[in-house]
């Protein structure tokens, strides 16, 4: 096994898929010579040139719209939205066009495209550059939503996303870009819709996404010192959702804590809580606990960010509240 950072893993997935399939290309703001706002696409322009690594004007609607057009006519675009927050400007293209086009054409067209969305807080980027907007995306039939938490998952899931024949929103957490982790020597796709047990345990199930997977792992270490063994499930794909892996864990532990960085109100975590309550209520021995960010815009300074974003203490308290 070798080590890559999360950012390097994403770059490797893009590079290898571009080498493998000449229809794959990338577009976005400063993805070329500058290498992307977070350096993810660094060096790709040297290998593939300006035709396949396209710097675009500052218009997210144009970026996603161009990707849709390219996908509809046989290419496999990977669009980068510099900050996930800016997907708001491209929502008409993504929600009304990309997600609907196959349905409106009666299945006669497919849109193989990936929209990369760096999200998440913790870098003092404040309210307009820190959001986790996954619930807006999972709400829309016609889009798949992927959210890796490790370099290995980022690599394998991005390969699958690029090879997928549907629009895929690929959420990347900014704080994870520098995270190093083991990745397989051979690039292997990880199927979309397959959760991963990040830590086995018998006492409580913690379903966590993105950066929260790592906070949940830290919390689990602390809980283990008190003899509490938490099982941590990372869904990895928010839609399609691997309900089976989550349900199997809850059927064993009978308790579940859902940890997401998104604002708690109206979040994807609430949807998961509803699914669990609706489908496996009888297996629960306690109420479902949801932990998310406070229902506020993300503040700028670290002191306030730390107050708003869930941390290990919140997760430990959440677990203990139902034991």
């Amino acid at each position: 096994m070798r080590q890559l950072t999360y950012a390097e893993a994403i770059r490797e997935a893009i590079r290898n898929e571009m080498r493998r399939d000449p229809r794959v290309f990338i577009l976005g703001e400063d993805v070329g010579k500058f290498g992307g706002c977070f350096g993810v696409t660094k060096g790709l322009i040297d290998e593939f040139g300006e035709e396949l690594v396209r710097d675009t004007p500052i218009s997210e609607a144009a970026i996603v719209g161009a990707a849709i057009g390219a996908a509809a006519t046989g290419m496999r675009p990977i669009a980068e939205i510099m900050f996930m927050d800016f997907v708001t400007v491209a929502m008409d293209q993504l929600v009304n066009q990309a997600a609907k086009m196959r349905y409106m054409f009666g299945g006669k067209i497919s849109l193989p495209m990936v929209v990369r969305l760096p999200g998440g807080a913790g870098v003092q980027a404040a309210a307009q550059h820190s959001q986790c907007l996954e619930a807006w995306l999972t709400h829309v039939p016609g889009i798949k939503v992927v959210y890796p938490s490790t370099p290995k998952d980022a690599l394998g899931l991005l390969i699958s996303s690029i090879r997928d024949d549907n629009p895929v929103a690929f959420i990347e957490h900014k704080l994870l870009y520098s995270l190093k982790g083991e990745v397989p020597d051979e690039n292997e796709p990880i199927p979309l819709g397959l959760a991963d047990v990040k830590r086995p345990g018998r006492d409580v199930t913690i379903v966590a996404t993105g950066l929260m997977v790592h906070k949940a792992l830290n919390a689990a270490k602390e809980l283990a010192k008190e003899g509490i063994e938490a099982e941590i499930i990372d869904p990895r794909t928010l839609f399609p959702l691997d309900k089976e892996t989550i349900f199997n864990s809850i059927k064993k532990t009978h308790k579940v804590v859902i940890v997401t960085e998104e604002v708690k109100r109206g979040g994807w975590g609430g949807e998961l809580a509803a699914i669990i309550a609706e489908e496996i209520f009888d297996y629960l021995d306690a109420q479902i606990v949801r932990i998310g960010s406070l229902n506020v815009p993300m503040p700028f300074t670290t002191v306030l960010e730390n107050y708003v974003i869930p941390n290990e203490i919140d997760i430990i308290n959440g677990v203990k509240s139902i034991l």
């Binding site: 009666g106 299945g107 497919s110 039939p141 016609g142 549907n166």
Partner: protein, 72 residues
């Protein structure tokens, strides 16, 4: 309104095509007749087709997934 009617791009393009001898008046009329025929055929096809199966409402959203249907 009159001013904008005069700027209608479709008649303007037709005028441009005729003025520059790109196509003849008869060729343009033939194009229009073909479009009308195509539209009439589409309307006839729609009117003569049966309504779709209800289950088709949950298909063709994704290439590889079918959404959950309703049991009644």
């Amino acid at each position: 309104m009159e001013e904008w009617v005069a700027r209608d791009p479709i008649p303007r393009l037709a005028r441009y095509i005729l003025d520059n001898n790109i196509a003849t008046d008869e060729e343009l009329k033939e194009i229009e007749r073909n479009i009308i025929r195509e539209l009439e055929e589409a309307v006839r096809f729609a009117e003569e087709s049966p309504y779709p199966e209800e289950t088709s409402a949950v298909e063709d959203i994704y290439t590889d997934l079918v959404e959950e249907g309703r049991v009644r």
